[in-house]
Symmetry: C2
């Protein structure tokens, strides 16, 4: 069973590009349609109701473009969109795969979550972790400065190290051995987070966790891959024009190359 | 000539509250209708075209509520909305009053501007300053971290001091004697900016500049004040529900007190 249609991926902005990069690398024959809702970013400071409305509009838009699956590459949107199917098309969000992967690596069952205000407030990761294993202890921290630091490109910077220390040190002190990067921007700041978390804490990256799940679904026959030998095509659409976004997206994607960047009205 | 209708003020979020506070204090009998477009914030990272569209929607909404004037208390929106009148109602943005005030205080005609990416990219302040005085030299710096730092409440914080140094020191080194706070969030971080700017640089706050202009317009008969002895009423509307915004707005406004907070659909 094969399906030549592209996989849709959406995020509020640049963060989901970290997920796109992982997926495009792990599935080098699959094509991707990425939607960055940059006109309405960031989602992380908005209410759950608003995030849900925007997310539905994004999923509908991708479905109209003829995708075979939707990946919600945004922690805030994922926390408001728990469905694994929408109008007959499989939907992957970051919350379930990230939680599943965290539980597969934790030894002391103490798991930390870093996310936006909206993601932490929703309790989506905490609920999912406890649903999967009611013995787990969960510790959360909202990190509102991380998204703008990532977008400023200050990934290797003393200011970012200080902000990371401020956010990450208290949660590491609780004794966690696993830390979920619950916002798709955060892999951009992985080195700064790693410095504070230390070598004994495993960082869980949503992109890797989703890729693992899709690989499993392909094996189980729940996800139809493209025909062997297909050529990958990657298109990046944004809802607002921005050279800055385009350049930052190209930089994050490297060595993966997007074939087209364009602005769309959803 | 009197006019008992309220003055409309809008911003993408919390920043314009600094302007509302100055205006409510300077004109203690006038009533105000504040609109914070929090569902779509921030404006500063969006394209000029999108900011213009959102700003027109906000102005229309306030006009439907029956305001006698509109104050655009947002640097990014002001940079896309130069009109001084819209559908017969006077409009005040921050660009003209801020530029005018800066030119009235500068001695060496070297003026700096701190703003969002959108404001700096638009060149609105630079154009207005040069239009008013073609001898002026203008230096601009985008400060994308300032809005989230202000919203995090880290106004008295070593991290904010470091970020302020990063953004403000290079512009101070150009020899400016006047620095426009070209985003209405920035007065929240005034102390950190002042530390870097030093005692010889005058900081120009948009709220004060607009209040000066309205006071002049009242004297000239271009702006109709309320009847002497009127009781002030302040209503704060937001496009997204957020206890966080409400609490931060109350804190910034103090000792001014808003009579009502409510969520609206514009």
């Amino acid at each position: 069973m094969i399906d030549s249609r592209p996989i849709g991926v959406f995020d509020s902005g640049i963060g989901g590009v970290t997920v796109l990069k992982v997926l495009a690398t792990r599935f080098p024959q699959e094509s991707f349609l990425y939607l960055g809702d940059t006109a309405r970013l960031p989602y992380g400071s908005k209410s759950g109701q608003t995030i849900r409305r925007y997310s539905e509009q994004n999923v509908h838009y991708l479905l109209r473009q003829g995708v075979k699956a939707v990946v919600i590459a945004c922690g805030s949107a994922s926390s408001q969109f728990p469905e694994s199917e929408f109008e007959g098309v499989p939907v992957y969000n970051v919350v379930h795969p990230g939680s599943f992967k965290a539980l597969s690596v934790t030894k002391n069952k103490k798991v930390g979550i870093l996310g936006t205000k909206a993601t932490v407030k929703s309790g989506a990761y905490a609920h999912e972790l406890i649903r999967l294993d009611d013995k787990v202890e969960v510790f959360s921290q909202a990190c509102p400065l991380f998204v703008p630091l990532a977008e400023e490109g200050w990934d290797d910077d003393p200011i970012t190290n200080l902000v990371a220390y401020r956010y990450v040190n208290p949660i590491v002190k609780t004794g966690i051995d696993t830390l979920i990067l619950g916002c798709t921007h955060y892999p951009i700041l992985k080195e700064a987070i790693r410095k504070v978390a230390g070598p004994d804490v495993t960082l869980v990256d949503s992109g890797e966790a989703i890729a693992d799940l899709i690989a499993q679904d392909i094996e189980r026959g729940h996800f139809k891959p493209v025909k062997e030998g297909s050529e990958q095509n990657i298109q990046v659409m944004t809802t607002d024009a921005s050279d800055y976004f385009t350049n930052l997206a190209k930089q994050i994607l490297t060595p993966v190359v997007a074939h087209e960047f364009r602005v769309v009205d959803i």
